[in-house]
C-alpha cells in the first residue's frame, strides 16, 4: 500500500483530467452545435464540399478524438515534468491508433511518465552526451519502449476490454440502467465534487470517450440538481414551517443555486460542512433518483460539463429535464424533512462548529 501511495497514481490522473476538462467542454460544445444544425463530423474537410455546421462538428470531432492523447500526455507530464510530454504524446497517439482508446491512453501515460523517470535516473551517459539526453535519448527510448509495449502487449487486450465494456453497457436493459444510473448518481452526490465524485467522473468520462454518453450525463445532472435541490429545500422548509438554514447559509444558497445551473456543485459545501450527515443523505437519495431516471430515459449529452447548457446537446432534451426535476424535488424534499428547525438563538450558536479530526495518513510532512 505504501508503495502505491508513494507513486501517487491518483494525483497524476487528476492532474491530467484537469487539463482534459476544458478541451472536452470546448470540443463537446462545438460538435453539439454543429450536429444540432445538421453538420457531421468528417475525417477530412475538402475545400468546397462542407457546410459551416460540418466545420463546427468536425472541429469538435477532432478535439474529442484527441482525448486519449491528452490524458496520456497529461499523466506523463505530471509524473516526469517537461521530458514527459513528448513520449506521452507519441504513446497516447499510439493508443489511439491501436484502438486502445481512453483506457489505453491512461495506461500509456503512466507507462511513459515512469519510463522517462527511470531513464533519467538509471541511464548514465558520458559528459559529452549530456545534451543529447533530453533531446534524443529520453524521448526516443521512452517512445520506442512505451510505444512497442502499447502496440504488442497492452494494446490488444485493452482494446478488446474496451469494446467488451462498451458493448455490455450499450446492451443494458432498462432495469439494469435504473440500477447503474442510481449508483452513478449516488456516488457522485456523496462528496460534492470531491475525490469519490472525481473517481466516478474519471470512469464515466472514459465511457464518454468511448462514445457512451449516458453515465456522464447522469453524473453531471446530479451535480447540477444538488445545489438547486438545496435551494428548493428552503422553500419546502417554509411549507413545513421550518427554518432549516442559518442566515450565513441562506447567503451561501443565493450563490450556490445559480452556480448549480452551470454545473458547479461546490457552492453548497459550506452548508454541507455544518451538517454533513443530513445533507449527504439528502444528496445521495436525490442523486440516486435523478441518476436512475436520467439513465433509464436515456439522457445523452455530448458534453461532460455545463449543467443546463448540456440539455440542448441531448438527442431528447426533455429526458434531461425530467431527471433534473426528479432529482431536485427528491433532494429538496428529503433535506427539508431531515434538517432540524433552527430557532433564533440556535442560529447565533451555530457559528462555532466542531471540525473533523485530521487523519494522519492524509498528511505528508517533508
Amino acid at each position: 500500500m505504501s508503495v502505491l501511495r508513494q507513486l501517487n497514481l491518483k494525483e497524476h490522473l487528476l492532474t491530467a483530467i484537469s487539463y482534459l476538462i476544458p478541451i472536452v467542454c470546448g470540443a463537446g460544445f462545438l460538435i453539439a452545435i454543429g450536429m444540432g444544425f445538421g453538420g457531421t463530423s468528417q475525417e477530412e474537410l475538402i475545400q468546397g464540399e462542407f457546410s459551416f455546421w460540418d466545420a463546427l462538428a468536425t472541429m469538435g470531432g477532432v478535439g474529442l478524438g484527441l482525448l486519449p492523447v491528452v490524458i496520456a500526455t497529461g499523466i506523463s507530464y505530471s509524473i516526469a515534468e517537461k521530458p514527459g510530454i513528448a513520449p506521452g504524446m507519441i504513446i497516447g497517439l499510439t493508443a489511439n491508433t491501436i484502438g486502445a482508446g481512453f483506457i489505453g491512453g491512461i495506461l500509456g501515460g503512466f507507462l511513459s511518465g515512469y519510463l522517462v523517470i527511470a531513464l533519467i535516473k538509471y541511464l548514465k551517459v558520458p559528459q559529452w552526451a549530456k545534451g543529447l539526453m533530453p533531446t534524443l535519448i529520453v524521448p526516443f527510448f521512452a517512445s520506442i519502449i512505451g510505444g512497442l509495449i502499447m502496440v504488442y502487449i497492452i494494446g490488444i487486450p485493452v482494446s478488446a476490454f474496451t469494446s467488451l465494456l462498451t458493448n455490455a453497457l450499450n446492451s443494458l436493459g432498462s432495469s439494469s440502467l435504473l440500477v447503474f444510473g442510481g449508483v452513478v448518481g449516488l456516488l457522485s452526490g456523496v462528496d460534492y465534487g470531491g475525490p469519490i465524485n472525481k473517481t466516478v467522473f474519471a470512469f464515466v468520462l472514459t465511457l464518454q470517450a468511448e462514445g457512451i454518453n449516458g453515465p456522464i450525463t447522469a453524473l453531471q445532472l446530479v451535480n447540477t440538481a444538488t445545489p438547486i435541490g438545496f435551494g428548493l429545500a428552503y422553500l419546502f422548509g417554509k411549507m413545513f414551517k421550518k427554518n432549516i438554514y442559518t442566515p450565513v447559509e441562506k447567503e451561501a444558497i443565493k450563490s450556490a443555486v445559480p452556480m448549480g445551473f452551470v454545473n458547479i456543485v461546490e457552492g453548497v459545501i459550506p452548508i454541507v460542512m455544518n451538517d454533513i450527515l443530513r445533507c449527504v443523505a439528502a444528496t445521495a437519495i436525490g442523486g440516486a433518483a435523478g441518476g436512475a431516471v436520467s439513465m433509464w430515459l436515456g439522457a445523452d449529452a455530448t458534453v461532460p460539463f455545463g449543467g443546463v447548457l448540456m440539455l440542448p446537446t441531448m438527442s431528447n432534451p426533455w429526458t434531461g429535464v425530467a431527471a433534473l426535476v426528479v432529482n431536485i424535488i427528491v433532494t429538496g424534499f428529503t433535506l427539508a424533512l431531515l434538517k432540524k428547525h433552527k430557532s433564533e438563538e440556535q442560529v447565533e450558536l451555530e457559528e462555532e462548529i466542531e471540525e473533523e479530526d485530521i487523519n494522519l495518513d492524509d498528511i505528508k510532512v517533508y
Binding site: 476538462i21 505530471s78 461546490e266 460542512m273 471540525e355 492524509d362 505528508k364 510532512v365 517533508y366
Partner: protein
Amino acid sequence: MKIVGVAACTVGIAHTYIAQEKLESAGKKAGHEISIETQGTIGIENELSSEQIEEADIIILATDVKVSGKERFEGKRTIQVSTEVAMKSPNKLIKKAEEVVTQQS
C-alpha cells in the same frame, strides 16, 4: 509565525478557492501571517513572492493535482494535504503546522 501555501484542485474553479479562504481565515484567527496562492484553471492568482517564501516558517500545500513551481519550496518544511482536508479541518491543519514548526526548532 509566517505561513505560505498553494491550493489547487482538479476542476480548478471551486475547491481551490474554498481551501484558500478557509486556510487564510483559520491562520489569521490563530494569529499567523498567512498567504495562499491559488492555482485554478484560470491560472495562478495571489502569486507568492520569493521574499514571502523565503521568510515563511512553513509551507502548506492543499492540492489534489500537480503544483506548478514546486521547486520554489525546495528545502522548506512542507505539509502536503488534499484540498478536502484544508476545507474540512482548517484550524486543526494550522495547529498541525504549528507543531511541525516547533518540533523543528
